[in-house]
């Protein structure tokens, strides 16, 4: 039996594969648990998923509880809430983390509501610190840091009075730790008895395509917006990306206009990226777009409008028509030797 007060992670699986965000969270949980001198636990729910657990232990996980049932193959809210609520009541973790994915944002709030504890949404950073409130001093509290107000403010939220402290965490913001092959952790199957009433949702159809675009893993991203003008003209964006060895990104407006598929979308409702270099071509720089790329180490903005908000966060700005600027860029790079 593992110790109480652990840092617990809801390990999300999709079609039997553990999601990237869960590995990011286990890595972050390891950091937090080391600071708090406690253990990392995980809960993995699905059908025939136990084999996945072994690969997670090296991220510094002390115990993974595995709950398997044919009817748990795909996520639905009612039975997953039941399992998590019981696991939390039994093991009394001090912190529980969920990915801020469609699944995590469906599940986390139900659990918080059931347990009457706080839940901070869509965090981009987590830290440990002290907090004083109404003559009470709280030691080693989780600071849950998140953007709100459409990205215009960053709030630090705490929930010191009730355990566990819970948060959903944005995908792609926590760094994956390096696995330690010899790490000793337990894998503990847990049996649950369910009734039909625990499965009130029937998934009739589920269509999910793996992303073909690897924006998160790319060090250079060339993104196009409405200013690119057409699907055909995106060829120019692709050409610059290929020349520099990067990936192609896009604004939501470019996706909505049908210039490029949604997999390429950067921003609040797309992918969050922080490459070495981000080149924004014909993108105005709406706050929802910036939410997904403002952490890039270097930003180049190419725009005909010298007042476009993208220039406010860019390191290099070129006022001009992208159809004219990009060929010059390609030529300059090819001529570098």
């Amino acid at each position: 039996m593992s110790s109480k007060n652990s840092v617990m992670v809801f390990i999300q699986q999709d079609d039997g594969t553990v999601s990237d965000v869960s590995i990011e969270l286990l890595s972050k949980a390891r950091d937090l648990a080391t600071q708090l001198r406690t253990e990392v636990t995980g809960v993995l729910i699905g059908d025939a998923v136990k084999a996945e657990a072994a690969g997670l232990v090296p991220y510094g996980v002390d115990e993974i509880f595995v709950i398997e049932d044919k009817r748990l193959k795909n996520y639905t809210p009612v039975p997953y809430t039941k399992v998590m609520v019981e696991m939390i009541k039994k093991h009394e973790p001090q912190i529980v983390l969920y990915g801020a994915t469609t699944t995590g944002r469906d599940l986390g709030p139900r659990i918080a509501s059931n347990l009457k504890v706080g839940l901070t949404a869509d965090c981009t950073d987590l830290q440990i610190g002290d907090y004083s409130f109404k003559d009470s001093e709280y030691k080693d509290i989780l600071y849950q840091i998140r953007p709100a107000f459409g990205g215009n403010i960053i709030a630090t939220i705490v929930a010191p009075e009730k355990k566990p402290q819970m948060a959903t965490v944005r995908e792609g913001v926590m760094k994956v730790g390096s696995p330690q092959p010899g790490y000793k952790g337990k894998i503990t199957p847990v049996t649950f008895s369910f009734s039909d009433a625990d499965f009130p949702s029937e998934i009739i159809k589920r269509i999910r395509e793996e992303k073909l675009v690897d924006l998160k893993g790319s060090q250079i991203i060339v993104s196009g917006g409405i200013g690119v003008g057409s699907k055909e003209n995106f060829a120019l964006i692709y050409e610059l990306a290929h020349t520099l060895g990067g990936e192609v990104g896009a604004s939501r407006a470019a996706v909505d206009a049908g210039f490029i598929s949604k997999d390429h979308q950067v921003g609040q409702t797309g992918t969050t990226v922080r490459p070495k270099l981000y080149i924004a071509c014909g993108i105005s720089g709406a706050i929802q777009h910036r939410a997904g790329m403002s952490e890039s180490a270097r930003i180049i903005a190419i725009n005909t409008d010298n007042e476009a908000p993208i220039f406010q966060i860019a390191h290099y700005g070129i006022v001009g028509d992208l159809n004219d600027v990009i060929p010059k860029f390609i030529k300059a790079f090819k001529a570098k030797e």
């Binding site: 709030p109 949404a121 709100a148 459409g150 215009n152 630090t156 589920r206 520099l244 706050i287 290099y316």
Partner: protein, 293 residues
């Protein structure tokens, strides 16, 4: 056999269209200067409910909002679009609520309405940005939910069930579930209808009345005329039988420790001439600092 539908709507500051006037000198946003609007996703949720009402005769659409007196505006706008009943849940004791306390108050208000088949929420509000209130309310009511719904494919009033399409990363799911059920609706497929001119004329003077008068703010008094003064119900904490200790700041486990405004301006931008030479210089600089390889 009509259905009983409930739509939860929120009035929010318009955080998406920040104009120069709402920007402070230091590049941060002056939140107080943002206009108050109908939360965008909630217009999609209302539209989904109104389309069900049109398809199934005898269906009633009830719209609830929790907020200060000025939030009555989103209820008026719901009446203009075809809501049958509206209530403003308002009490000073609700102030400072986090999502847990908000969902508790909404649950109490929904139970005051009594029987219902489907509760519609927006997916997310554009100020708190949490998307938590829908699922938390469903859990408190002890009912099933489908979140991030882009469209309702089929409603069967006899079997009391529906089929909905929900978006997931990289695709979608088609889900069947029975009533009572809570849905959170996204902005992908429903096209919110504009207000009806005829309804605007008849509800123009709709005012807020109710079980008890929790407020005597001039806004409420000035809004009413004799004819349809009390069209919008006003429910305070006693009216919805809520426990004080579970509402507002007292019922909220999360506390805001610190708020930092995001500075929307960077200090050092280098403007590059749109000439082959200047662009080549920039490329060389980026190669030299290993950004480009």
């Amino acid at each position: 056999m009509g259905l009983n539908l409930i739509v939860l709507v929120k009035q929010v500051p318009d955080t998406q269209n920040i104009t120069g006037e709402a920007m402070k000198e230091d590049g941060t946003v002056n939140r107080a200067a943002l206009p108050a609007i109908f939360n965008p996703d909630d217009l999609h949720a209302l539209e989904a409910a109104l389309e069900v009402k049109e398809a199934i005769p005898g269906t009633k659409v009830h719209v609830l909002t929790m907020g200060p007196p000025s939030a009555a505006q989103v209820l008026k706008e719901s009446l203009y679009r075809g809501a049958d009943f509206t209530a403003l849940i308002s009490d000073r004791k609700f102030a400072g609520a986090d999502t847990l306390a908000t969902s508790y108050a909404l649950k109490c208000a929904i139970e005051k309405i009594g029987t219902y088949d489907i509760v519609f929420c927006g997916r997310q509000a554009i100020d708190g940005d949490t998307a938590q209130v829908g699922p938390q309310t469903a859990e408190k009511l002890g009912i099933n939910q489908i979140t991030n719904v882009s469209s309702i494919e089929k409603v069967d009033p006899k079997k009391k069930e529906l089929v909905a399409k929900r978006s997931i990363e990289g695709g979608f799911e088609i889900v069947k579930a029975s009533f009572p059920l809570l849905l959170t609706v996204n902005d992908e497929e429903y096209v919110p209808r504009p207000p009806s001119v005829i309804k605007m004329m008849s509800y123009k003077n709709a005012g807020v009345g109710g079980d008890e008068s929790a407020y005597d703010e001039s806004y409420l008094n000035s809004a009413g005329t004799e004819r349809n003064k009390d069209i919008i119900s006003l429910w305070d904490i006693a009216a919805i039988h809520a426990r004080v200790e579970s509402c507002g700041l007292a019922g909220s486990p999360t506390k805001v420790k610190k708020i930092e405004s995001v500075i929307l301006k960077s200090e050092d931008i280098k403007m590059i001439e749109n000439t082959g030479e200047a662009i080549a210089d920039m490329v060389h600089e980026l190669i030299a600092d290993h950004t480009l390889g």
